[in-house]
């Protein structure tokens, strides 16, 4: 359906029809055949390592070690409390992740066939991440096709003004308004195959009749361009050159940067995956601890 889809099925499934699930279908994941049984998995079929399953009594010492490590420097009383839990073992992490997928949805509710990340979810989450002392770093994972300019810039400003280390990782795509969001982090990564489309803001289907309309769009463009140049190593001149390049996109002017291209032009800091992103985040957390940003 879109130019970004690559499927062997003709036509695609994104018909915009309401999503209906037939409860009678036998192969549906998560539906127990008997309506009386409401457990998600049969007790016998789960692997012993699966989360939420209690380890065998023989594995207990290993679990204690894991738990102690997980709640580092919180004291022995907490360790005992942790062991006394009957429910699934809580894995405490000091890194939280912020997945940004599909369209970034802002002032307007988009039609249901769009997958969206909503700003009314993201902004309170960012506030909670900044405020929670147990969270020491934030990993932003992007696979976005763009979206609302103001929502994207709001999220980008929130990320960049956080006092905690942030690392972004672009996977799949970080197009249009995804660019300021990805450069907003302290350090940014892009996967080798991920792409970022740089193109001008436009009002499709609307004829620019008066100079004021053009001026307005130009101002909106400057907001995005200025944010990107302030938070990455790409220059204003280079970014505008990429943005207004002709002959690269079939339906538009602009450029698609794939993996290394985004690093070469200075927009993204490094090429890498999840392991390098987490390692970098841990390094930034360590730095912040050492410089006295975080007590305890």
């Amino acid at each position: 359906m879109s130019e970004f889809e690559w499927t062997r099925f003709p036509g695609g499934d994104n018909t915009g029809k309401p999503h209906t699930i037939n409860p009678e279908l036998p192969g549906q994941p998560g539906i127990a055949p008997n309506p009386d049984i409401l457990i998600p998995q049969e007790p016998g079929t789960v692997e012993p390592d699966a989360p939420g399953v209690h380890p065998e009594p023989g594995e207990e010492p290993q679990r204690i070690r894991k738990t102690k490590q997980g709640i580092n420097k919180k004291g022995d009383i907490n360790t005992i409390k942790e062991l006394g839990q009957i429910t699934m073992p809580q894995t405490k992490t000091n890194i939280h992740c912020l997945p940004i997928v599909g369209q970034i949805e802002g002032h307007m509710v988009l039609p249901p066939q769009n997958k969206t990340t909503k700003y009314e979810h993201m902004i309170p989450q960012l506030v909670a991440l900044e405020e929670n002392p147990e969270i020491e770093g934030v990993l932003i994972i992007l696979n976005t096709i763009g979206g609302d300019v103001e929502a994207g810039l709001a999220i980008a400003e929130m990320i960049t003004s956080m006092s905690k280390p942030t690392v972004s990782l672009v996977l799949g795509g970080g197009h249009s308004i995804g660019v300021p969001v990805s450069v907003a982090a302290n350090y940014s990564f892009i996967a080798e195959t991920a792409s970022m489309t740089i193109h001008p803001i436009r009002l499709t289907g609307l004829v620019i009749g008066v100079p004021q309309t053009y001026e307005y769009l130009d101002k909106m463009q400057d907001r995005v361009v200025n944010f990107i140049t302030r938070h990455s190593k790409v220059t204003d001149q280079k970014l505008r050159e990429l943005m207004f390049r002709t002959g690269e996109l079939a339906r538009d002017i602009g450029t698609v940067l794939i993996g290394k291209d985004a690093v070469d032009c200075g927009m993204i800091d490094e090429m890498g995956g999840i392991s390098s992103a987490v390692a970098k985040l841990n390094q930034l957390i360590e730095q912040r601890r050492n410089t006295g940003g975080l007590v305890q």
Partner: protein
């Protein structure tokens, strides 16, 4: 006025804006936000998990497709455990 900045053609993005979407609801369970589809009076199915805690994504009861049951529960101020898997 909102400006949508995307490489997708705007007619694709706005396709079906006059149609009604699936009746999903947002509920909060154990500190995480779940997008659920109500199936009957007391049952719903998880469609999407919205959380920043990576550990939440490993919880079997939060996996998309899982059926959750609403159970009335009387607790002393604790909000956790309002659901039963």
């Amino acid at each position: 006025m909102s400006i949508i900045y995307t490489p997708l053609p705007i007619e694709l993005v706005l396709d079906g804006i006059d149609k009604e979407g699936p009746p999903y609801q947002e509920i909060e369970v154990g500190g995480a936000k779940l997008l659920v589809e109500q199936q009957s009076m007391d049952k719903c199915r998880v469609v999407r998990l919205i959380s920043t805690n990576p550990a939440d994504y490993l919880r079997s009861e939060f996996q998309p497709g899982t059926e959750l049951k609403f159970v009335p529960q009387f607790t002393s101020g604790e909000t956790e455990g309002e659901y039963l898997v």
